[in-house]
Amino acid sequence: MAKPADLHFFIDPNRCIGCQACVQACSECDTHRGESMIHLEFVDRAQSTQTVPVVCMHCEQPTCAEVCPADAIKRTADGIVQSARKPRCIACGNCVLACPFGVPEVYEDRQIMMKCDMCYDRSSVGKKPMCATVCPSQALFFGTLEQIEQLRPMSMPVNRFRFGGQTIATRVAMMMPRDPIGRRPLVDVTDAMLERPRQRAIRLTPASADPFAEVQV
């Protein structure tokens, strides 16, 4: 069984409310019950309620697999980068250091790396991953490209990310506002209390439009 090719995973941090339903639901997944493979990051709680859920981005050319000395990390033909294979993994942590998104973790007690496998037990039989099913804000969305285009006209999926000289294409897409200047998030109540609002301290805008010029999912 494989994940259907037309179903994709989309993350929209603009929608995230930090409730951690994804984190709690992930630990209910039958392949790694009791452990959550998803991280919920507060960007800077002192300054904002902005949170970002971090799942494995399922890279086309996974850096974690490339640096694995034991060849324990496999990407299946449907594009899912699987957790480390038990007989091979030596828990060296190379993948943890190398992943540009900070996803894999080594579980010392079990001497193995585990990470998000897009709920392979569910997604490989056509079901949605647990986190995207429960997410109350649908910041985590699992569906077709047509669905996301129809449901989210204000943003667009991007799946190419530049880290220094490295450009990474991923199977998981991030939703970027089409007009990031138009709706700047509020971070400080005092800004909203003024008759003439100050320039906001934080402006979440892309570094430049270029890296996303040739977007494809």
Partner: protein, 756 residues
């Protein structure tokens, strides 16, 4: 005397809250469930559909229920981990009696003996001091069947007027405002009507944490062009990216609504035709609002003129809209006026009673809607009938098989009930589904009242903080151990299905109540053999009332995945039997209701909606030189109400272990407090020491403390027992306080685990 039998820490040592985590079969990746039970979450008023995995009479996990139309599989963290409340080490599996000779304060008691003791004490108190010397507190997390039975039990069996419920802390301001303006008390439109609107106004509702599933409706509306207005003293997760944020000072909401409406009237952004043909009372409201000029409104509310102007323009010129509010504007001594202020904004635009134009109030508890309709409120009879109305009394007395004259009259609200205990008028109390020692304001007073009771019996599944004062505790049932209906936020009646049986001597609550009625020698009317039988009587009792459930059956609920009331069994116009599908949307043009009888869409004899002057009044115990900061209280997403259940679920406690005092860095700097410092907040009622959480997302003149914790961590040690004069809701959302850096950690830090 109901003082604690032994030191509280000893009670905690035995009865918790302890944590239940994922262990044993709940950690197994291979244990297949024997069955999946389609039911709903036990917590908030959204009532998300969920499937419980059951094996060996234990709930071992959950599976999303993606077909249920309201949440389509979505759940918040509480819904995900709710199953861990079952098979819990703290679970009461026998009756308990207070026993100061026992090291932990209580000893087990055989169930039948416990029932006999309770009945004996009730009879003793009532024969010595009259029927009204015994009171009942009930709750809105119970199924509608149970709430119906509680109301009937108090009036018919105990013959006391003194029953009220914890919806008094929750839905009563909204309910009273709806009654005054519409003549019916229900959200007007299904949530799906939000998507496709021009503008949505969120007034005092931390949607992301208190009703998370509503978030996707909001975001989906925005994707399709809706502008989102959020009114809150804090930048809640939903306010962070809203289109217009109104950072209102706590307690100033009615002024804000009046100022915005005044501007809309000045600009002509109102629907004159709708106002003239379908409403009454507009001129008085317009007269009142005239004093709320833009500069004055900005000055009083703390919201800048530009934002007020923007709100008036967006709201005034929209073609479609949704406005909803929650406790943020309702938990005030001016709560009904605040809610009426929002309704005036809705009526002035005429955007009600059609698709994509609605008004709603978010229910807090599981059955926040159904629990306020069928007679556990002190002034109410089933079918949203009025206990002071002779016709209503006759109808219900006939259903219950008693003389109308034997039906007690109106009682008093839950807080007043405690004042009557304090005054010695009420000497005995039965409590179910209510934890007032944590949840009522100024709870030091509540503790003193509990200590004055001659006899106190609590029905519960865990020994909550209030039940620690009980003489007898009867072991009740968890939501998943019984069946019945609840009515969720949209007015949709849904079905809770039993997944497991109560353990040990624990029983379904309705059986316990009936056992008590039998032991009291008054079994007449308490011989139901199932929740279904109770529901069948409730259908008849509600027939012809405003909250008409007579056309709803368990089967129809299952087939349709919920039925919106009113759902009559007979066509109200012709009187002929009808298979009614329910009423998802209220007040549609041409609709018929039993009060207006065709004269118009609203539930008054002339069919017209009522404008009500929604006056701003300063909060009781407002900020002052002595107490210069606003204290406001509320929820966090991982905890629920007084925490009886959620403070016992390990992953939820881990997510937000203990309450903190939220404050703005400007305030923190002035007080020389850093994030994480032990900090003392003090009001006229008491003081609390918690760690500070320094964030820019709250007004610098306001602090916030979540209220789910007990004892020395309880925010309600600080809150004021001021109540709205109409709804009697307490003013949880504002009072004056002062804050200082604490000298060191409080004593409890070394004695209690985070959840205790």
């Amino acid at each position: 005397m109901a003082t604690l039998p032994v030191d509280e820490l000893k009670i905690i040592e035995r009865y918790g809250p302890h944590l239940s985590g994922m262990t044993g079969v709940r950690l197994s990746t291979s244990a297949e469930p024997e069955q999946l039970v389609k039911t709903h979450c036990c917590f908030c008023g959204q009532q998300c559909g969920v499937q419980l995995k059951v094996r060996d009479n234990q709930v071992i996990g959950f599976e999303p229920w993606e077909e249920f139309p309201f949440n389509r599989g979505m759940l918040c963290p509480k819904g995900v981990k709710r199953y861990l409340q079952g098979a819990h080490p703290d679970r009461l599996t026998t009756a308990l009696r207070r026993d100061s000779g026992s090291p932990y304060g209580f000893s087990p008691l055989a169930y039948d003996e416990a029932i006999a003791r309770v009945a004996g004490e009730i009879a003793r108190i009532q024969s010595a001091s009259g029927h009204a010397a015994f009171g009942v507190l009930s709750g809105a997390s119970l199924t509608t069947e149970k709430t119906y039975l509680m109301g009937k039990f108090a009036r018919v069996c105990l013959r006391t007027p003194y029953i009220d419920y914890n919806g008094r802390l929750c839905m009563v301001s909204a309910g009273a405002a709806n009654k005054k303006a519409f003549g019916i008390d229900r959200t007007t439109n299904p949530w799906s009507d939000m998507v496709g609107t021009d503008v949505i106004w969120v007034a005092g509702s931390n949607v992301a944490e208190c009703s998370p599933i509503t978030t996707n409706y909001l975001w989906q509306a925005r994707e399709q062009g809706a502008k989102i207005i959020v009114q809150d003293p804090r930048i809640t997760p939903v306010a962070r990216t809203c289109d217009l944020y109104l950072p209102v000072k706590p307690g100033r909401d009615a002024a804000l609504f009046a100022g915005v409406l005044n501007l809309m009237i000045e600009q002509g952004w109102i629907d004159r035709e709708f106002i003239e043909t379908t409403t009454v009372g507009f001129e008085a409201v317009a007269d009142y609002c005239r004093q709320w000029t833009l500069p004055r409104t900005a000055d009083v509310t703390g919201v800048p003129e530009r934002a007020l102007r923007q709100a008036a323009e967006w709201w005034g010129t929209a073609k479609t809209s949704f406005l909803f509010h929650a406790r943020g504007i309702e938990h005030h001594s001016n709560g009904v006026q605040n809610a009426l202020g929002t309704i005036n904004l809705v009526l002035a635009t005429g955007r009600i009673g059609r698709p994509k134009s609605g008004y709603g109030t978010i229910t807090g508890q599981a059955n926040g809607q159904g629990g306020r309709e069928h007679g556990q409120k002190c002034d109410q009879l089933p079918g949203w009938r009025d206990i002071a109305n002779p016709d209503h009394r006759r109808h219900i007395a006939a259903i219950w098989g008693i003389e109308e004259k034997d039906l007690p009259g109106p009682g008093v609200d839950a807080y007043e009930l405690f004042r009557k205990i304090d005054a010695g008028e009420i000497k005995g109390l039965l409590s179910i589904c209510f934890n007032p020692k944590v949840s009522l304001p100024d709870n030091t007073f509540i503790t003193r009242c509990l200590e004055k009771l001659e006899f106190f019996v609590a029905i519960d599944f865990f020994l909550n903080e209030t039940a620690r004062h009980a003489d007898i505790v009867l072991p009740g049932s968890l939501q998943e151990e019984d069946e019945g209906t609840v009515t969720q936020v949209e007015g949709r009646v849904i079905k809770i299905n039993r997944a497991v049986d109560p353990p040990g001597e624990a029983r379904q609550d309705w059986r316990i109540i009936q056992d008590l009625a039998r032991a009291l020698g008054r079994p007449h009317g308490f011989a139901f053999s199932s929740p279904r039988e109770i529901f069948e009587e409730l259908r008849r009792a509600s027939k012809g009332g405003v909250a008409d459930y007579s056309g709803i059956t368990y089967e129809k609920i299952e087939t349709q995945m919920g039925v919106f009331w009113p759902c009559p069994s007979e066509d109200p116009e012709s009187g002929r039997p009808v298979d009614h599908a329910g009423t998802p949307r209220l007040f549609e043009r041409g609709c018929y209701n039993p009060v207006a009888k065709g004269t118009g869409p609203f539930y008054f004899p002339d069919g017209k909606a009522r404008f009500n002057v929604a006056e701003y009044r300063p909060a009781v115990d407002d900020v002052s030189d002595e107490y210069p900061l606003f204290l406001t209280t509320g929820r966090v997403v991982s905890q629920f109400l007084s925490g009886t259940q959620t403070r016992r679920i390990a992953p939820l406690v881990k997510q937000y272990p203990e309450p903190r005092i939220e404050m703005h860095p400007r305030l923190a700097e002035r007080l020389r407090i850093a994030d994480g410092d032990w900090t003392t907040a003090e009001t006229r009622r008491g003081a609390i020491t918690l760690k500070a959480m320094v964030v820019t997302t709250i007004r610098p003149d306001t602090i916030f403390i979540p209220y789910h914790w007990a004892g020395p961590k309880s925010a309600n040690q600080l809150t004021v027992a001021a109540q709205d004069p109409i709804s009697k809701i307490p003013q949880y959302k504002v009072c004056g306080c002062r804050v200082r850096k604490a000298d060191g950690p409080p004593a409890y830090a070394a004695q209690r685990e985070p959840q205790q």
